[in-house]
Amino acid sequence: MDTGRKIGDVILSFENISLSFGGVKALTNIGFDVREHEIRAIIGPNGAGKSSMLNVINGVYHPQEGEIIFHGKHRRDMNTYESAKSGIARTFQNIALFKGMSVLDNIMTGRNLKMKSNFLLDAIYWGPARREEIEHRKKVEEIIDFLEIQHIRKTPVGRLAYGLQKRVELGRALAAEPSILLLDEPMAGMNVEEKQDMCRFILDVNDQLGTTIVLIEHDMGVVMDISDRVVVLDYGKKIGDGTPDEVRTNRDVINAYLGVAH
């Protein structure tokens, strides 16, 4: 693999995270870390707690126990606004775009946090508001170019094929210029060609923009090909952590995926 990018220090780590909903324990004593510029995958069978983990990272869920260390600061939990503000963006398992809006407008919403001019100036599209809009549009056009979706720029998202919608959602996350990108099953429901495209885009984002990527994925082939390190969860517990090769040969992981004779 290309080694142009340098994997840096740990920027985000979790210690003994536990999360439960009433009596259901979604996560139990999970601990792992994420290094700068790496592609970190979280895998596991259905119901293993992968999405819960992602939701803990960007502050949708607040764990009952444990500690999160983000950029050196120890904290009990994250909150959504703050995590977005500090450069964490994400996509969702079931696409969460505005179906009636064009691709361009959808990606533009990703710029929301970066917009500074006030409502009144925006309304009359004058002075700084106008300059700002042009700046944002430029950024969005760069993303459109990056993801090669020029031909659907003005198309309402609801009319697009599923694979393209996924790409648009990635575009919206990129519009926030994140330092950490959380991808919840980016290839779910895609055909082989769409998967290949998506892999290429994820690698390009990581390589060219230097974005750290945490992704959940079902497709083992994809995960093993593009990730630097993999965490494996099963029934809310961590059963494996390491490079794809290490995980592949881990006995517990094999048992969790293939079942075990009792």
């Binding site: 142009g4 056009e141 170019d145 020029q150 031909h151 720029r153």
Partner: protein, 658 residues
Amino acid sequence: MPATAAQVLGDRLDTFPRLLMRHASARGGQVATREKDLGIWQAWTWSEVAAETRAMACGLSALGFKRGDNLAIVGDNRPRLYWAMCAAQMLGGVPVPMYQDAVAQEMSFVLENAEIRFAIVEDQEQVDKLLEVKEACPALAHILYDDPRGMRHYNQTFIQGLDEVVEMGRIHDKSHPDFLDGEIALGRPEDIAVMLYTSGTTGKPKGVCQTHASFITAARSGVDFDSLGPDDDILSYLPMAWVGDHLFSYAQAMVAGFTINCPESGETVMTDLREIGPTYYFAPPRVFENLLTTVMIRMEDASALKRRMFHYFMAVARRCGAEILDGKPGVAALDRQLYALGNVLVYGPLRNVLGMSRIRVAYTAGAAIGPDLFRFYRSIGINLKQLYGSTETCAAVCLQPDGEIKFDSVGKPAPGVEVKIADNGEVLVRGEMLLKEYYKRPDDTAEAIDREGFFHTGDAGFFDEDGHLKIIDRAKDVGKMANGSLFAPNYIENKLKFVSYIKEAVVFGHGLEKVCAFINIDMGAVGNWAERRNIAYSGYTDLAQKNEVYDLIRECVENSNAELSHDPMLSDSQVHRFLVLHKELDPDDDELTRTRKVRRGFVADKYRVLIDSLYSGKQSQFIETQVRFEDGRTGMVSADLRIMEAKTYPPQSAKKAA
């Protein structure tokens, strides 16, 4: 003493670099090139283009590119790739544009054959392809890329960004201001300007060497013919390696000084077409066909009122639109008024949707265009015309003059072009725009150009009573019937295939008394037709043998016979008997080539028994054929094929002449 700029710019506009320099001084502020990038149309004026091209040429020279070198150019239509052609020409080198969608192995033949040392390519994809074949092409010493995306980690020293080279060139040009002018001054019109490789459907591709003189002559005749000027706009979206694009987007743009517009990507061409609204347009028939299909599908979804209005006015347009466009007399006053109304309500908006509101002249070439399709565009007021030419003739042999449009001819010889018909029916061409030679193939050159300087096109054709050339077939396919009259299978097959119900046709007649045909129905069109008539069918084989379908096809065959009867040379080629095949001809069964051309000989051998029955007067014939399914399995299809007679007509030419 090196030549000064003034000397270079003299009156001699006989090479492309000199033309560029002239435009830069005569209309430096006008837009020469546009490209849509990041959602915005970026523009370069003639003086900017000249400056960029000069810098690129100096940069190439600094890297060691010199007179006589060939420069490979691979990529989509990007401004800098067009400029690279001129940059190579400034230094006395030869640009060799290559098809951007070719796979690496296909490219290696051209790279090797043309001894490419320098390649300018669009992006990472093309760089990767060249790297793949670099082992096989050791001469390749420099790869320069236009788009730096994804190129950060390529640390091979022979790969460089074009930006870097242009920057280097700018400095070089400053420190040696006379160098490039001197190089341009050395260029002669008889130098080779470009090398275009033929597609190579038969054997290996051949490099066609065209001189500055030939392409400038060809371009100038087209420009004068349709009075094109600096205010025209064209969309450059066809492969740069195709002679058509080279003529329209490079040679004619350089001669007339009009603006070329490069679309954002291959998928945005339709949107970009609408945004630019070109005044001059060129496309192969399939593009026009796709456009029409899109319109028709969208009309199906329109409201009932709009649909009725559309169909009503399209009927008016069919009746008189083409005649009004040609300025012919004899159109009823009422029709004229209806057409004017239709223009406001339907044709105008339709042209706008197609991106053709501003079109003055549009051309199509490259394949036969269906008369219905052709008539459609002309009837809504788009001046669509046909031209005839090939890579070897700079795509400029015949053009249809305004007001003299015929649906089945390719027009009159262009000014300065001599066309004659050989005894065997082959079209021979002589003129300034002929190729100089096939690269490194003196034998082929000698075979193609005879001692009198006529180029043998390989096409068979004849002149009609108005002096219009009519191309009927490839010369090698043309045969004679038993009574000695001309037999042109492709021509008859195309006529049949223009009907939407017929997908493929194979006709036989060489050395025989009569012409007979195999027909493949179009499953989609005929299936639809059958459903509307409540005809039940279980599959292709069943549908093909329905009596109603046979009657439908007979009607189509008889219509084509009626048209053929008007043709003095081809009236004997009317189809007497036909059958509808029980299976679709398929490349998987080796009956068609991958480009969907019928392999006549193979089909004739495989279905020998059917041909015998066609000629023996039988009413039906049983046949069993092996077919290969898409997953590789094989199976058998069998059927009792009916054979039907079609009505033929006596020759009509005498009546027409009277």
